[in-house]
């Protein structure tokens, strides 16, 4: 018995020593993940990698809306700072560029099929690589739409969208479903409107004005379009517009997979949840552009772009940097890694990418093949993004409940932008 215990103890010691030794030699990886919905997938992948190579990979996910705050405080920890983090946009390059290791010529970069989504600093060095791209629009339940007597082809612009949605809403009692899912403004859902939906007025304004870098002010010249679509969301849905702050992302998702609503504004990343987790049929699903009443919008494709770019902490120890780059290479080349990436992020721009069965990406590609224009991610220019969005959310909340007029949203959009810009420059 005693011997057995001794043996076990010795074994433990050897193992722990071994793991220490290997961790020391190989460095370690600390990934500060940006996407809460992909947290589990990253945790699992990290475990697989550690099991295969013995390299420690720690994945921490910031709560939604707090990434910058978390990153700021985590970076303060000199030798326990993240070795791998996320730069979302040009502003991120300004703030975090000096922490980012230039990645040109690394094995990771050599695996890429396009550099369209990468971020460069002022010297032209690649400081972050876009590891996936995403598209969003109105996820549509085609089966329900047909039940109501329409097809996707009937929706070509805001006018036709409104006609269909108003009609479905009017007959919702008889049909058993409504047009839109709840436009929840709880923190788990509000980014769909303060982030993604605000892209519509931003994109068109920047297009008109030829803006290609972060502006200090915006005019809000397309805010009437934003109002059109928001009014439609809250009018043609079963949710109580006075209580939107209580509706969560899960509520909207549930409306959709339970067949209680036809349209659900969300992105390609929802595919795995809807089909994988909640058993919806892929052939019933489509993603159509968000129409909001802008001239020429019948030629628009989906909103596509990325705010998912990996940056490697250049201030981390060399061993850690190498471990991180090795890990990334493994993620985009190994069987396990590419499978996870295909499942969570769709078609990734790397040579070894696995095909994605995500129908939303196919819709996106189809629209592009028809020669329609991409609505790029203009919101990537947002200054002090969490605060700007928080202002929009509060304004939308009050407007929807009838406690404030639309001017409040305009103020949050235009003046809020200027304030956020001054505060961070």
């Amino acid at each position: 018995m005693k011997k057995l215990v001794c043996l076990a103890l010795a074994l433990c010691m050897v193992l722990s020593l071994a793991s220490f030794a290997s961790a020391d030699a190989a460095g370690k990886v600390y990934y500060l993940n940006f996407k809460p919905e992909a947290d589990q997938a990253w945790q699992d992948l990290a475990k697989t990698y550690t099991a295969q190579t013995g390299v420690e990979v720690k994945v921490v996910t910031a709560a939604s809306g707090t990434y910058q705050q978390t990153l700021t405080s985590e970076m303060d920890k000199k030798d326990a700072a993240p070795t791998l983090f996320q730069i979302g946009n040009a502003e991120g390059v300004v703030t975090w560029g000096e922490y980012a290791l230039p990645l040109d010529g690394t094995e990771l970069m050599n695996e890429m099929t396009t550099e369209d989504f990468n971020l460069k600093n002022a010297d032209g060095q690649t400081v972050a690589v876009g590891y996936c791209y995403e598209a969003y629009g109105l996820i549509t339940n085609k089966a329900l739409l047909e039940k109501a007597g329409y097809t996707v082809a009937d929706i070509k612009d805001f006018e036709s969208l409104k006609k269909v949605a108003d009609d479905i809403h009017a007959r919702s009692a008889e049909l058993g479903f409504d047009a839109f899912t709840s436009a929840g403004l709880d923190g788990s859902s509000s980014w769909r409107f303060s982030g993604h939906l605000t892209n519509m007025p931003l994109f068109y304004e920047f297009r008109d004005d030829g803006i290609t870098e972060q502006p200090a002010t915006v005019k809000g010249s397309y805010l009437n379009a934003y109002k059109n679509i928001w009014d439609l969301y809250i009018a043609d849905s079963a949710a109580d517009a006075k209580k939107l702050s209580g509706y969560t992302g899960a509520d909207a998702e549930k409306d959709f997979y339970d067949g209680k609503a036809v349209f659900f504004q969300n992105g390609t990343w929802e595919y795995s949840a809807l089909v994988g987790e909640h058993g919806m049929k892929a052939e019933d699903l489509a993603m159509i552009p968000i129409y909001c009443g802008v001239e020429g919008e019948e030629n628009a494709a989906l909103c596509a772009g990325t705010e998912n770019c990996w940056a490697v902490n250049g201030k981390a120890s060399e061993a850690d940097q190498k471990a991180t780059l090795d890990f990334l290479k493994w993620v985009v080349t190994s069987d396990e890694g590419t499978a996870m990436m295909a499942k969570e992020f769709g078609p990734i721009p790397f040579k070894a990418a696995k095909a994605s069965e995500n129908v939303f990406f196919n819709d996106s590609t189809a629209l592009l093949n028809e020669g329609k224009y991409v609505v790029t991610w203009a919101f990537n220019y947002t200054p002090d993004v969490d605060n700007w969005r928080a202002g929009i959310v509060s304004a939308l909340e009050q407007y929807s409940a009838g406690a404030a007029d639309w001017g409040e949203v305009e103020y949050a959009f235009v003046d809020g932008w200027a304030t956020c810009y001054t505060n961070t420059h």
């Binding site: 006075k242 605060n387 009050q398 103020y411």
Partner: protein, 296 residues
């Protein structure tokens, strides 16, 4: 203050025990003193130092003079937070103390089950601001037609309910202690002189519980000014009107300013102003109530 002076002058000591203790400075005083330096003194001094600097991390600071203070004063949000905090503190001061006094008064009468009632009133005080705020947010938001984060006045009265629920029991304990120390013979004498209940309460009881009133007003006022957890959980400052959080209190405003990387100098200046404000209030208020005590 007066208390500490007494101690300094009339401290009990004798050379017989003084010397040996002094020799063991490192055992008795040093640990507390070192921790006090880490946990209070150094951060306090550094705080004042940083308030006249611009910085994102403490390793990279730039002297900017009183610019941070100028920015803090010019900050609409900070001024709004100041007004709102003063309002919250004033209204809650009155509500909490009136309620607590009458509960205490009633529960020193001969009422069946009063010990049980006292316990019940005290319980919420043991629950921390975060948990307590979460409970009430859920309840209040489902009672109201719209959420507290939409209507600023709902947020205000919601906060009052929460503060009263939490603090009435605490103040009640102090008032009960004060009421129990009122000399019975004075009350008896007043009664024999034919004073009715209200008159006795006003002329005999109230002046005699003045020390408790001092303590309670002081406590509830500073509690009101320093409130953070409940404010954070209930509304987090929302609704935002014209870019300004309508229910944002000073402590929350300062914490939020710290979270924007290049506003940290301004945040620290706000914190110094906040410190001066709280200290001034404590001193003025203490002096005012103390002098009243002396008069009677």
């Amino acid at each position: 203050m007066s208390r500490s002076k007494k101690m300094a002058d009339g401290a009990l000591t004798s050379p017989l025990i003084r010397k040996p203790i002094q020799r063991m400075f490192a055992v008795f005083l040093l640990p507390t003193f070192v921790c006090f330096c880490i946990g209070f003194l150094w951060p306090f001094i550094q705080g004042i130092y940083l308030s006249v600097h611009s910085f994102t991390t403490t390793t990279n600071v730039k002297y900017v003079g009183f610019q941070n203070y100028a920015k803090a004063f010019a900050d609409q949000g900070f001024r709004q937070a100041f007004g709102y905090t003063a309002l919250v503190a004033a209204v809650s001061l009155v509500l909490i103390n009136v309620l607590a006094f009458f509960v205490a008064y009633a529960l020193t009468q001969e009422i069946r089950g009063r010990n049980l009632y006292r316990s019940v009133f005290f319980i919420p005080n043991l629950i921390g601001g975060i948990v307590l705020g979460y409970i009430w947010k859920t309840i209040i938001d489902s009672l109201l037609p719209v959420s507290m984060s939409i209507q600023a006045n709902y947020g205000f009265w919601g906060l009052m309910v929460v503060m009263c629920w939490q603090q009435v029991g605490y103040m009640m304990i102090i008032y009960i202690a004060g009421l129990q120390a009122v000399p019975m013979d004075m009350i008896e004498a007043a009664r024999i002189d034919g004073a009715n209940g209200w008159k006795t309460l006003w002329n005999i009881t109230l002046p005699n519980v003045m020390p408790s009133i001092t303590i309670c007003t002081f406590l509830s006022l500073t509690n009101g000014f320093k409130l953070y957890d409940q404010n954070l959980v209930l509304t987090n400052g929302a609704p935002v009107r014209r870019g300004i959080g309508q229910t944002e209190m000073l402590a929350l405003n300062i914490a939020k300013t710290f979270s924007t990387a290049n506003q940290r100098g301004v945040a620290q200046a706000k914190a110094v102003l906040f410190f001066i404000l709280v200290t001034a209030i404590s001193l003025i208020q203490l002096r005012a109530t103390r002098s009243k005590e002396v008069q009677q």
